[in-house]
């Protein structure tokens, strides 16, 4: 099992695309129930880190330990089943399905029946589905979507779509939640709501969250620890107060050249 409450340990994680090093030797130790931020200019490799953690990409080198278990290069559905859930920068919902069915899909791999039982309409299918509906309603209630169950997910306004995606991720009952720019495209009022929502979920569910965000108010208000990425490297890490004063970070954002040092 994990030593002294470490949930996620990343060692020397790297990923290249052709000649471009998207992530270069990323290291992190994240304890249980922590809110972590990753910031950095565009193209710094932030999303690539999430894609590596969630099994969407295979890494070139490095190791990812989750709950003491080596999950490096597992397929994304296996990572998802082990308790890492995520959302996407450009929202990836099942658009033709209802809001409720989007969340129900997250329960598929835990269903108590197989194809043959489903085919013959075995009695347990109904009760299993009933439980899944109730659990899905619970998550939809948490993100404030109880009034939109029947609507096609794709027809909702952007801000609500983000919440559907969040509910779907939470339905996986993750220990680690990866949020890729959850505030992108939201107006200031919606951003406020999102900050409150993430804080509420964090406190209630006691899970760890890794958050990528360009909106500084979100990161600075929520995160306990921040990694700053630029050109694939971690150029700084620390508490929000430390990061805001760090000259290296300020330079990165103002566009000064930076050499990776190892």
């Amino acid at each position: 099992m994990a030593e002294n409450g470490v949930l996620l340990e990343v060692k020397g994680l790297s990923k290249k695309f052709g000649g471009v090093v998207a992530v270069d030797d990323f290291n992190a130790r994240i304890k249980k129930s922590r809110l972590i931020g990753i910031i950095g200019p565009n193209g710094a490799g932030k999303t690539t880190i999430l894609n590596l953690l969630s099994g969407v990409y295979e890494s070139d080198s490095g190791e990812i330990l989750f709950n003491g278990r080596n999950i490096t290069n597992l397929q994304s559905f296996e990572v998802g089943r082990l308790g890492i859930a995520r959302t996407f920068q450009n929202i990836r919902l099942f658009e033709d399905m209802s809001v409720l069915d989007n969340v129900r899909s997250a329960y598929s791999w835990r269903a108590e029946y197989g194809l043959l039982k489903a085919m013959v309409g075995w009695r347990g299918v109904g009760s299993s589905e009933h439980r899944v509906v109730e659990q899905s309603l619970h998550w939809l209630g948490k993100v404030g979507l109880s009034g939109h169950l029947d609507e096609d997910a794709g027809s909702l306004p952007y801000g609500l779509q983000r919440r559907v995606e969040l509910a779907r991720a939470l339905a996986g009952e993750p220990r680690l939640l990866l949020l890729d720019e959850p505030a992108a495209g939201l107006n200031p009022a919606e951003v406020r709501g999102l900050i409150e929502l993430i804080r509420k979920l964090f406190v209630e569910l006691q899970l760890s969250i890794i958050l990528i965000e360009h909106r500084m108010e979100v990161v600075m208000e929520l995160c306990q620890w921040i990694y700053v990425q630029n050109f694939g490297c971690t150029i700084a890490q620390g508490t929000p107060a430390q990061i805001q004063k760090d000259p290296v970070v300020i330079n990165a954002y103002l566009g000064e050249e930076f050499e990776c040092s190892r």
């Binding site: 559905f77 998802g80 859930a85 033709d96 598929s108 029946y113 085919m119 029947d150």
Partner: protein, 293 residues
């Protein structure tokens, strides 16, 4: 047999075969140009078993389905990991290869001359009963988590994987189910027409099945049944229009594709609730009928 009943039975068996395309292409978005080849495989296995090896009819049909599903397992296991456009090509190749085998192995199948002398053992009731049973099975699958997973994978495979759905294993199951349905239809067809020939199961037939599914509505079981039934009966119904019937057939399809891109029925399903004959059951805070999929 009465002409109308003959057309009706033929239509019912075709519809049963098209259900295979419905689960695979309609729901899951996997384009197979070899689906009709499974019908051919089922036809030949069942017909050969009965005529050449004196296997009892029900057992021959069961054999046809089991062997076809086994063949589908081999093909699916090796091809469902590749990209979906390549999958269409591979199934095309498989279908054509199978057709060539039937064509070339003259000694067993009669080759291009066809395989005749199959006893007529598929009664109208057997055909209609089989279709009803298959529709019921597919409906159950559609309403279970498998139906949702199909749609999830079709819309966004990456997002489906991330929430724990094993897309490969799901697609493989759907492929086996589709092969089972189509080969079952094939076995019934052989014992209805009493004659099988390789030309009936080529890629064009598979493409027509896909058209039938999209015509009725890829998301609607009702629509698929309607599409398969009308489009397979239409050439017969339009027989009076002699040389114009192909044109009329094409115009009808073009009109549907232009004006109802989601198919004639869209996502609508026939049910007592949707006809207003029965009140929706109320679940935990939500109307039951609305939890579709």
């Amino acid at each position: 047999m009465d002409y109308i009943i003959t057309v009706a039975v033929f239509t019912a068996i075709t519809t049963l075969g098209v259900l295979g395309t419905f689960v695979l292409t309609g729901l899951t978005g996997l384009f197979s140009l070899g689906q009709a080849a499974f019908m051919g495989l089922g036809s030949y296995i069942a017909a050969l078993a009965v005529v050449k090896y004196d296997v009892p009819f029900p057992l021959a049909v069961a054999m046809a389905v089991v062997i076809s599903v086994a063949v589908a397992y081999v093909i699916g296991y090796t091809t469902l990991k590749i990209r979906q456009d390549f999958f269409a090509l591979v199934t095309f190749g498989f279908g054509e290869a199978l057709r060539s085998i039937m064509d070339e192995s003259v000694k067993y199948t009669g080759g291009a001359m066809g395989f005749s002398g199959v006893p007529q053992l598929t009664t109208p009731w057997l055909a209609f009963g089989s279709l009803a049973a298959a529709v019921w099975l597919v409906r159950n699958v559609r309403k279970s988590k498998f139906g949702r997973d199909c749609l999830a994978i079709r819309t966004d495979e990456l997002a489906a994987q991330v929430i724990g759905i094993d897309a490969f294993s799901h697609k493989l199951k759907v492929f086996l189910l589709g092969a089972g349905l189509s080969s079952f239809a094939g076995a019934l067809m052989a014992f209805f027409t009493t004659y099988v020939e390789p030309g009936m199961f080529g890629w064009i037939q598979s493409a027509i099945w896909i058209i039938m599914v999209f015509f009725g509505g890829r998301d609607s079981l009702t629509g698929t049944i309607f599409g398969a039934a009308t489009l397979s009966a239409l050439p017969e119904i339009l027989r009076f229009a002699s040389q114009w019937r192909v044109l009329i057939y094409c115009v009808i399809i073009l009109l549907i594709i232009n004006f109802r891109p989601a198919g004639l029925f869209g996502r609508w399903e026939l049910s007592l609730e949707n006809l207003g004959l029965k009140h929706r059951r109320v679940g935990p805070g939500i109307p039951e009928g609305k939890i579709h999929g």
